[in-house]
């Protein structure tokens, strides 16, 4: 059933193109995007693990007939094991992460359909393009292929920002594109340096050549390529100094849009991060640099979140800060820590989507996002407030929710790897996260209602409540039964290193 693997990328692209052509035909667009979105999570579930070679270009060693006809110059050396075309590998991580990504994508599309009277095909085009491009990044084994789909993901992210009705959206999008146009070509140059040394862009081949000493892995070209690719990575995920623009981007989009943007960022983080770990993890200073940038991201984002007064901006900073945990797990670099980091990534995908959509309900009700002017909304939306509270507990790591499980694993791995300081900092930061969350929860829901606060609509849309409920159920299930996910991830990480 390996034919299903490319379909995970192709179906969203085809859906996106059809929806774009349909344009403003409201009911058809709604039905089609709903059907495709609900079908997408099923594909990773029913697909089997395996590889897909595009155009049938499997490695020569798999193809006995062709190999015997070639001269011994090729068939007897390691060249015959190299990958000729682009190949997709579908394993445990891909299965789980894509399932949750498509769930979040479905819920984002579902809320977008319900909260707007007229939905344009172009907006759905952007969402599906974003989903398919990050899927391709995660599946691909080819670092240049990742770069191309990363650029497509950036353009669709910009489109998702522009579809909101915030009055600063064009400025933010422009800043994001200018910084992105510096980061993108620099990433490409880094890939070029790697290509100059290795002659291939396939990650498996690169690691093979490094492990067997076929290239000098301490040559300046290799180190330079690490610097440039690492810079591209921190740009793509929003570690400092890109945390300000990333949080601004989250705060300018619609609630469902920001949930999707964060999901895309997490997948980009994981796929580029794994590529960097696989290629460069033998260099001694790589782990230190990853830990340094992740720590800086966590500390700066959480302190900025504490003193910010704009509700959406606070959640944006919290979301960016949480990405630091994944980076720490990658930086510690043991099997347990990478597993924990991947688990944390999945949890973050779900929890931040919950918070963005849950707090987005407040902004839909009042059209105000300044927390000093809000208050007392618990009497308007009691159900939503309880669910958001539980989501915040999950983010801060309160048992028995899923954030607790992954953060516990991260702390254990830090202690095992002889980094007790990191464990202390992680606990400290999650306490501060909890405090920030309680602060905004109090400001929005519990504080006495200001007199000039006008609640425009009396009810939040039922779709938002449904979405938050589904995400909360996933949180609780993953918190009670983490083995559902962790077992697969452990196998995946074991095969990785």
């Amino acid at each position: 059933m390996n034919e299903l693997i490319p379909l995970m990328v192709i179906i969203p692209i085809i859906a996106a193109l059809i929806l774009n052509a349909l344009g403003r035909k409201n009911s058809i667009v709604k039905t089609l995007s709903f059907v495709v979105a609900i079908l997408l999570p099923l594909i990773p579930i029913i697909s089997n693990y395996g590889f897909h070679y595009f155009g049938g270009h499997s490695p020569l060693i798999d193809n006995e007939n062709l190999l015997s006809s070639l001269p011994s110059l090729i068939s007897n050396v390691s060249l015959s094991t190299f990958h000729i075309g682009i190949n997709y590998s579908f394993e445990g991580l891909q299965k789980i992460l894509l399932f949750f990504l498509f769930i979040v994508g479905f819920l984002a599309i579902f809320t977008a359909i319900n909260e707007r009277k007229r939905i344009s095909g172009q907006y759905m085009f952007l969402i599906f393009m974003g989903l398919s491009s990050v899927t391709a990044m995660l599946l691909s084994d080819d670092i240049f292929h990742m770069y191309i789909f990363f650029e497509i993901a950036i353009i669709s992210q910009v489109g998702i920002i522009l579809s909101s009705n915030d009055n600063q959206k064009y400025e933010t999008a422009m800043k994001y594109m200018i910084l992105g146009s510096i980061g993108g070509p620099i990433l490409l140059t880094g890939i070029g340096f790697l290509l100059a040394l290795v002659g291939s862009v396939n990650i498996t081949d690169i690691t093979y050549m490094i492990k067997n000493g076929l290239i000098d892995s301490y040559s300046p070209v290799f180190l330079f390529s690490f610097g440039l690719i690492f810079f591209g990575w921190i740009y793509s995920v929003g570690l400092p100094p890109f945390h300000t623009i990333k949080s601004a981007v989250y705060s300018k989009a619609t609630p469902s849009g920001s949930a999707l943007l964060q999901a895309l960022s997490v997948v980009i983080f994981i796929s580029f991060g794994l590529a960097i770990l696989r290629i460069y993890s033998h260099l001694p200073f790589v782990h230190g640099i990853i830990i340094f940038f992740s720590l800086a991201g966590m500390i700066l984002s959480i302190t900025m979140a504490l003193i910010e007064t704009d509700l959406r901006r606070i959640i944006g900073f919290l979301a960016v800060g949480e990405l630091g945990y994944i980076g720490l797990g990658f930086g510690i670099g043991t099997n347990l820590s990478i597993t924990a980091a991947l688990f944390q990534g999945i949890n973050e995908l779900i929890i931040t989507a919950l918070l963005f959509i849950g707090f987005g309900a407040i902004i839909q009700l009042t059209k105000i996002s300044n927390i000093t002017k809000l208050g007392g909304l618990i009497e308007n939306i009691p159900k939503m407030s309880i669910m958001v509270l539980l989501g915040g507990f999950a983010m801060a790591g309160v048992p028995p929710l899923n954030g607790f499980q992954s953060k516990l694993m991260l702390i254990q791995s830090a202690l095992n790897a002889n980094f007790p300081e990191l464990a202390i900092i992680m606990i400290l930061i999650s306490i501060v996260t909890f405090m920030t969350f309680i602060k905004i929860f109090h400001a929005a829901y519990l504080k006495p209602k200001p007199k000039d606060l006008i609640v425009e609509k009396s009810l939040v849309p039922r779709s938002a409540i449904f979405t938050v409920g589904v995400l909360l159920i996933i949180c609780i299930v993953l918190g009670l039964m983490p083995d559902l996910v962790v077992k697969e991830l452990t196998t995946f990480v074991g095969g990785l290193i």
Partner: protein, 122 residues
């Protein structure tokens, strides 16, 4: 003694540096965008330069060539395929940026990055 490959590498490096200079120091948004397109072109030129082989041939296998001679003399075709994609991506990014710049001009009546993209909380 300077050969074509090194000269082309220097050329791509200077394109990237000129583009970075424009993106950082020039205030006009259109000029910033022009600078960013130079960075993109420099990166593409860098990739193509990697594939070059002095006294080589174009990597197109014509009938009548012996495969061994072709392998020994042709340029490396993989970066060519990569750059083709990258050029198109660069042009589309540029188009999106110009579109946003046009909207920003309509809104602010100016193209100065300092005025438009500074810290202007309303």
């Amino acid at each position: 003694m300077i050969n074509t490959q090194i000269a082309a590498l220097l050329c791509s490096g200077s394109f990237i540096l000129i583009g970075l200079y424009a993106a950082i120091f020039l205030d006009n948004i259109i000029k910033k965008i022009i600078g960013l397109s130079f960075i993109e072109e420099g990166a593409n030129l860098f990739l193509i330069t990697l594939a070059y082989r002095s006294d080589g041939v174009v990597p197109i296998f014509l009938p009548g060539m012996s495969p061994d001679w072709f392998v020994a003399n042709s340029a490396y075709p993989l970066p060519h395929a990569l750059v083709l994609t990258s050029i198109v991506i660069g042009a589309s990014t540029l188009a999106v940026m110009l579109a946003i710049a046009m909207v920003l001009y309509k809104k602010h009546g100016s193209l100065s990055a300092f005025k438009i993209l500074g810290d202007n909380h309303e």
